[in-house]
Amino acid sequence: MLSVKRPYLGELETAVMEHLWHCDSGDAKSVHHKVGIKREISLNTIQSTLERLFRKKLLGRQKVGHAYVYSAAIQRGELMSRLINDVVNTLSDGKSDYMLSAFVDFAARSDELSLDKLEQLIAERRAENSRDEET
């Protein structure tokens, strides 16, 4: 089991992961060619990004000749679902968060009966409005 509890990635890290998910594997030079050149980023930066992702256990690597060949150690879907679960679990702990505002409160639930009553209230008001419009 990988210990990727909060795998928040920067923009370049995400781009490198996306590239490796797409191409299966690659060494620093090939990643630099696809991801680095259009961003005007040096090979060293790509190498250190790959190293960082390897340390975060998001990439695996094998030494082929003098270079490491990197591949994704976690699939895209799994990483995304971990991220979302992390967000949802944090939202559900009931603590207020200044930077997040959910349409309905994550940490508090109404019961069926209350919702039935509210639906009835809305229906009554709608009927009332229709009657007012007719008269």
């Binding site: 909060r6 928040y8 990635l9 995400t14 995304m80 679902s81 991220l83 979302i84 992390d86 967000v87 949802v88 679990n89 944090t90 939202l91 559900s92 702990d93 009931g94 603590k95 207020s96 968060d97 200044y98 930077m99 997040l100 505002s101 959910a102 349409f103 309905v104 409160d105 994550f106 940490a107 508090a108 639930r109 109404s110 019961d111 069926e112 209350s114 919702l115 509210l118 639906e119 209230l121 809305i122 008001r125 709608r126 409005n129």
Partner: protein, 329 residues
């Protein structure tokens, strides 16, 4: 700087005292004012509650500055130095600053205040870091909608939220998009975008960070009321945009029902703690007092209070010195 250590100690004690007094008055007045306040239009209510939350800290600071005003005016040469009338009385004076208080009680109190400030600031910073990380996680786990200005999160639950501090982004889960009608989806988007337009995240940050002087349970109640007011203000905005209050109410109930029908394996869900009922009833009944006289009344009261305070700056200065003298004897 060390010459002013004593003055800074006294100014700190005075501001804590004034803030505590304001918090006590808030504790007494808020339950009486709350019913009337809840009748106000949500946007105005949210503004009043924000001011109320910040009031003790600002009153503490303002009254302390005003109590130093006579001495400041003397220093500037606009007011005759009155040190000679003090005759051994503790003196809040910038020209002849008082000696530092070196007794254990004073330093213990200052240390306690320091610890409380660090804990409170730490909590706020932790909340900011947590929010930043969640926002980053959401951005990573979502993709932009092709046509509209929101992001889609591939999650099998009914997720709809806005995240960010200065620039907020709206996130909607794929499952919610599938289960809502186009009109309902537009209600959700209008509601969430209204949070961004109103800068509700910044409002919440200021409210949490600067309401430290309130009595904790009063603070909790004020924050909960402000949160409800913000949600209702966004419901009202969505109702204006869609031209149908009942559609907004209906959407809220529909989404809440999705949560109930598909229970999430979450750690701490509380039943009936939700503000759904208050929001739906507010939309259905539409009974908010929206009279402009309230604003005029508030501004007038504020101006009168300021005039009264400025008029009695001398008295305030003298009584602050007397009370501080008594407390630090």
């Amino acid at each position: 700087m060390s010459d002013y250590l004593g003055l800074m100690q006294l100014a700190l004690f005075a501001s804590v005292g004034f803030a505590f007094l304001a918090a006590l008055i808030s504790r007494i007045v808020y339950p009486l004012a709350r019913k009337r306040l809840l009748q106000q239009a949500p946007a105005r209510r949210a503004n009043i509650l924000l001011i109320w939350l910040l009031a003790p800290a600002f009153i503490g600071l303002l009254l302390t500055l005003l109590s130093l005003m006579p001495s400041f005016l003397s220093l500037m040469g606009g007011y005759q130095d009155h040190c000679n009338v003090h005759d051994g009385h503790l003196h809040l004076c910038l020209i002849h600053p008082p000696l530092p208080l070196n007794n254990i009680t004073s330093w213990a109190f200052i240390t306690l205040l320091g610890v409380m400030a660090v804990v409170f600031a730490g909590t706020v910073i932790f909340g900011l870091v947590r929010g930043y990380k969640l926002n980053k996680g959401l951005m990573m786990a979502s993709r932009k909608h092709e046509k509209q200005d929101f992001r889609i999160v591939e999650w099998n639950g009914p997720l709809a939220l806005s995240a960010g501090l200065h620039r907020m982004s709206v996130f909607i889960s794929g499952q919610l998009m599938k289960n809502l009608t186009d009109k309902q989806l537009n209600v959700v988007l209008a509601h969430e975008r209204s949070h961004a337009e109103r800068k509700d995240a910044l409002r919440q940050l200021f409210a949490h960070a600067l309401s430290f002087a309130h009595i904790p349970w009063v603070r909790r109640s004020l924050l909960a009321d402000m949160n409800l007011a913000c949600e209702q203000a966004c419901d009202e905005a969505a109702a204006r945009i869609m031209g149908d209050r009942l559609l907004v109410a209906d959407t809220i109930v529909s989404i809440e029902r999705m949560y109930i029908q598909k229970p999430l394996s979450l750690s701490a869900l509380s039943i009936s703690g939700s503000d759904i009922t208050a929001r739906v009833e507010s939309l259905v009944h539409d009974q908010h007092a929206d009279s402009p006289s309230w604003r005029r009344y508030l501004i007038l009261t504020g101006i009168l209070l300021l005039i009264a305070t400025f008029a009695s700056v001398g008295e305030l200065h003298h009584h602050t010195e007397s009370i501080l003298g008594f407390l630090t004897r």
